[in-house]
Amino acid sequence: MKPMTTEQDVPISHLQRRKIEGRVLIPFIEACRERFGDAVTRDLVVTTIRRLAADDGERWAQTFGPQIAGLRKVAEDVWAGGGSPEVDVTAETTDRLEFNVTRCRYAEFYQELGLADLGALIHCSRDHAMIAGFNDGLELVRTQTLMDGASHCDFRFRRKS
């Protein structure tokens, strides 16, 4: 599917988009869960979300360049734009980018609703698919997230060996 976004009457931050999307997505997923159970719903949602995230990755690669420097811009300008996650970069070379996210309003949004499990599904699961679309030679290793209750998210992007 082609990107559908057209001209906007006000600039919309990434966080705002995700919240607007969540307003229909959350009840929709809850209705699916009630009807089909968690496993089937998870499959359906993850497949769709991953495809959209890969498209995001491709678009961001075109905008910022498909290398580590471009990835850093994605994290700092797109994700953290409008003051969303606080990104603490601990290492950057041409082969890897490591940062910890110490505060995440995406996670806070879902946690306030008591829906951190849905947040992980809708939000955090995007990142692995995104990097595949951004640059297939890079991969993401992440062992913990704020959404899951950790003190920070440990993003480790690196060139595949």
Binding site: I12, I20, F28, T48
Partner: protein, 158 residues
Amino acid sequence: MTVSLIEQAKIQAEVLVPLVKALQDELGEARANDLVRRALGDIYRRYGEAFRRTKPDADVGTILASAFKTYSRGGALDYSVVEQSPDSFTIDVTACQYATFYKALGEPELGFLLVCAADFPVAEGIGGGIELERAQTIMQGASHCDFRYRRRALDRGA
């Protein structure tokens, strides 16, 4: 300034359209659409209820005139008011960017399911005996949408 409803609808379509299509593949169109209608029906009923709370004493004509101003923001709708009274609100929508958007995607049926179908639960949520009758929509290919909101006779003078 908040994001207009048409922009919100476009953002939501980005994820809803592929999700509903995946669901249709899985369940068949009728069962999938039924699920979507019910899931979204609950959301939109709550929107109607929340909207009512902002104007607890407004009559039918006043509250719906205000609702359509919101729907139209960002040039989303052209419409002419045929009748507005304390018990009724009758308009013809002659241009609809929601329909233009879904038609451009080649998905007017999904547009009807995701956008037009919301008007009924919203009316329910607004409450006070308001009923919507609508025989045709631009999304379905008609020249205009004929919205007829009325207050049920039973609830009048309440």
